[in-house]
């Protein structure tokens, strides 16, 4: 893989992601002010001192954005990773075993999907203790139903191929069949879905925070910041737009990179030759 073969769109996407990651990892050192520190007037406009201005309580928006990246990315990434692990394992077990295992898992999945996600999440989060692990698990479980659907569909296509049968004839166990024969051949659609789901997870955690059931104040997160500052929009104060734009840009960046990964992993020549 030569660097010059990477298209410009990927560089843009990677830059966006790396900036977000740096913010997330080094927030306390980068941020000019503290996460919850009140440094001036409510909704003070942008100035040399405060790059994006101040929020509804007089906290520095840039600092909170940097700290917010940490929370938002962490929650979204953990939730997506967990939902994929859960969804892929369950769906591949269903697809390789077929029969009643498939039937049971698929119908249970249908049952879960029939309940609107947001309402389900609101009900569950309202009853459970409001902390970050709970939030991640609830998001992951709800999202894994979508992953299950996709995973089962792609795995079924691969599971009927002769090479899977050949592995079974050799006497390979389910774990080998799933991890070595089926998974590598389903990676492209799953990776693409991962990027998309990650973007959705950012939106979802933001939505929950906006509704007051996600990340709890005073911890900064992008969705919560939109909520905190939404009233300002009426007065022509753009504070709410900054975290909104950050969510949009990060989502696009993730997708730019995923699109490219998708093209690369769909090559059957190990990335050599045709793309």
């Amino acid at each position: 893989m030569r660097l010059k073969e990477i298209p410009i769109s990927v560089w843009i996407g990677m830059t966006g992601i790396i900036v977000a990651l740096i913010c997330a990892f080094f927030a306390p050192w980068i941020a000019p002010y503290g996460e919850t520190e009140v440094v001036g007037d409510v909704w003070a406009p942008a100035s040399d001192q405060f790059f994006f201005g101040l929020d509804n309580l007089g906290r520095d928006i840039l600092s909170r954005m940097i700290f917010g990246a940490r929370t938002t990315l962490f929650v979204a990434f953990c939730a997506t990773l967990l939902s994929f692990t859960l969804g892929i394992v369950m769906s591949f077990i269903a697809a390789t075993n077929r029969g009643w295992i498939d039937l049971g898992l698929s119908r249970f999945n249908d049952l879960m999907m029939s309940i609107p996600t947001l309402i389900f999440a609101l009900v569950v989060l309202a009853t459970l203790p409001q902390n970050m692990p709970t939030l991640i698990i609830v998001m992951a479980v709800l999202d894994s139903t979508r992953v299950f659907r996709l995973g089962r569909a792609v795995a079924l296509d691969v599971a009927v191929m002769d090479f899977v049968e050949a592995a079974r004839l050799r006497g390979e166990g389910t774990a080998w069949v799933i991890l070595r024969e089926i998974l590598p051949n389903t990676l492209s659609p799953l990776l693409a879905e991962f990027g998309l789901r990650f973007a959705f997870a950012i939106l979802f955690v933001s939505t929950l925070s906006f509704l007051g059931l996600g990340i709890q104040p005073p911890t900064a997160d992008w969705g919560g910041m939109v909520k905190d500052n939404k009233d300002g929009i009426i007065f022509g104060i753009s504070a709410a737009l900054v975290p909104g734009a950050a969510i949009a840009i990060l989502t696009i960046c993730v997708n730019l990179v995923v699109d490219w990964l998708l093209r690369r992993t769909s090559s059957l020549k190990g990335g050599r030759g045709d793309a």
């Binding site: 030569r2 073969e5 002769d162 090479f163 050949a166 079974r168 050799r170 590598p184 051949n185 045709d274």
Partner: protein, 543 residues
């Protein structure tokens, strides 16, 4: 007589886009010249990649997926097809020049009745009224030997057999009274016993309608039956061009000679066939849903010998392989190796029992994981059965690669970087890696070009001699049976019709089905088709 089609200096190119480099022009076909008179048939023959389909499609001024016709002329009735604009070409396609593709099943729209699809082009070009078109279709169905020609068109594609569908497609092409039809491997996807009927129907229809045809195929014996002239192609260039008789009887080029004399293998049948090394006895099997596929099948193969199982599709020969491997536990009957019964189901078999019986698939493409390298594919059985790892594993893989005559430099390649024949060789190496005693070969050569298939058969026989392997060779091709088998089992509709040493099974007196099967194998001489049609006793079940 003036020429109908005259192709001069045809050059066809495609553009390939390697990543990070400038696009490259690839010449697919170059310097092709031929002429075709009205009512004559020209056979285009060559291996895959020879450019025969590409040349055939140029008669319709059509380039498949990114292929461009960049030079030369294709004169139809004196007018250059390649210089025409889109509108003029559309007026010719489906009216003056028609196309019959390899897979009729994939080419018919399953949602419409056959009759409507057959007359569609004629109506579209306003060549005839609907009533006339229907009448013509019924007439064509009749010549092509389709059942109930008046009402055949009312059926849907899934309601007729593969052979009938292929003939319906020929009717579709003939319907608009075209001057020229391009047949692209019209019988390749059919059973030998069905192929012969379709071939006869096509030949008769061409004669009756006085249409000219380009007949594309990889099977020289088939094209010899229908064409007046033959052009042999290789790698996009012409090798030899002449009257059929001369090409078959006095080929001038070495390559043509190789094609004519393909299947040169002579295998002396083993004398002692009594010892039952691998045995299947009293097998009854059915798929879920209750349709019985195998009915009381018993056969055996001695050590170091080859049992060929022949039959047309649907005869149950592949199901027999599934029973033997344990993929489909039989309803009754037993599978034994050296007298020791194997558990019916795959899951109950021990690792060692699995090792002793290996399977080689028809399609090497789908039989290997496209995400694994050759080294991983061949190495896995070594690790799995013997626990060989690391450098020792690489050494053993290379040893196997040497045995299949592939040599160095392949370990890190992916299947997509191999040719069809190489893929099948790797599949054989994977089977060998398990150190098996019996290999079931499920039509391992039927997807390959004749010369490549010949190489694979040679390899299998060599390996048998060196390692004392027993083969159960499933095929529909009697020529292969003649070449490699010691004993033969003939299957027909789930039953064993005939089983015994090759010399007995393949010599008279025959039962009706074996007779049909033997006579259906195209032979490399003129007039074979007519002889067979005159002498055979029954028709194929798949017809």
């Amino acid at each position: 007589m003036p020429e109908l089609l005259e192709v001069k200096d045809l050059k066809i190119e495609a553009t390939s886009y390697p990543p990070g480099e400038d696009p490259v022009r690839i010449t697919i076909v170059e310097g092709i010249n031929f002429t075709l008179e009205r009512g004559k048939v020209l056979g285009l023959i060559g291996e895959s990649g020879a450019g025969k389909s590409t040349i055939g499609l140029s008669a319709l001024a059509y380039g498949r997926g990114g292929v461009e016709i960049t030079g030369g002329q294709a004169l139809l009735d004196g007018e250059d097809l390649l210089a025409m604009n889109r509108k003029e070409i559309r007026a010719i396609r489906g009216a003056k020049v028609c196309y019959v593709s390899q897979s009729a099943a994939a080419s018919f729209n399953p949602a419409h009745r056959i009759g409507d699809q057959v007359i569609e082009a004629s109506l579209r070009h306003k060549l005839m009224t609907k009533a006339e078109a229907r009448e013509r279709a019924a007439y064509l169905f009749d010549i092509l030997g389709l059942p109930e020609p008046e009402s055949f068109g009312k059926r849907y594609p899934h309601q007729v057999s593969g052979g009938q569908l292929q003939r319906a497609m020929t009717a579709m092409a003939l319907c608009s009274r075209p001057d020229l039809i391009v047949f692209d491997e019209p019988t390749t996807a059919l059973d030998v016993t069905t192929q012969i009927d379709v071939l006869a129907a096509i030949k008769l229809a061409i004669e009756k309608t006085e249409t000219a045809a380009l007949y594309i195929t990889h099977d020289l014996a088939v094209v010899a039956q229908v064409s007046d002239d033959i052009m042999v192609l290789r790698d996009g260039a012409m090798v030899e061009y002449g009257p059929t008789e001369q090409i078959i009887e006095q080929p001038e080029e070495d390559y043509t000679r190789a094609l004519v004399n393909v299947r040169s293998i002579k295998h002396q049948e083993a004398a002692d066939q009594k010892r039952k090394y691998f045995e299947m006895s009293g097998i009854h099997a059915a798929y879920i849903g209750g349709v019985k596929v195998l009915n009381d099948v018993s056969l055996h193969v001695p050590k170091g010998q080859t049992l060929a199982i022949v039959g047309e599709s649907g005869s149950g020969k592949s199901t027999l392989a599934r029973v033997a491997t344990g993929l489909l536990p039989p309803m009754a009957g037993e599978v034994r190796i050296e007298g020791e019964p194997l558990p019916a189901a795959l899951k109950q078999r021990s690792r060692d029992q699995l090792r002793r019986l290996q399977l080689i698939y028809q399609m090497a493409d789908t039989a290997m994981n496209p995400r694994q390298t050759v080294g991983q594919i061949i190495g896995r059985p070594l690790t799995f059965y013997e626990g060989v790892r690391g450098a020792e594993r690489d050494r053993r893989v290379q040893e196997l690669l040497d045995q299949i005559e592939m040599g160095e430099g392949y370990i890190d390649r992916y299947p997509a970087e191999l040719s069809g024949g190489q893929k099948q060789r790797v599949a054989i190496a994977r089977a060998l890696a398990a150190k098996p005693e019996i290999i079931i070969c499920d039509e391992p050569t039927s997807a390959l070009d004749p010369l490549v298939a010949d190489g694979i058969l040679h390899l299998l026989l060599d390996l048998q001699k060196k390692k004392g392997l027993s083969y159960i060779f499933i095929t529909h091709d009697i020529a292969i049976v003649r070449a490699i088998a010691d004993s033969v089992a003939v299957m027909y509709q789930g039953e064993l019709v005939r089983f015994g040493p090759k010399s007995e099974v393949l010599s008279p007196p025959f039962d009706d089905y074996t007779d049909l099967l033997l006579k259906s194998v195209p032979e490399m001489h003129l007039g074979w088709l007519e002889e067979v049609l005159a002498t055979r006793k029954i028709e194929s079940a798949g017809n």
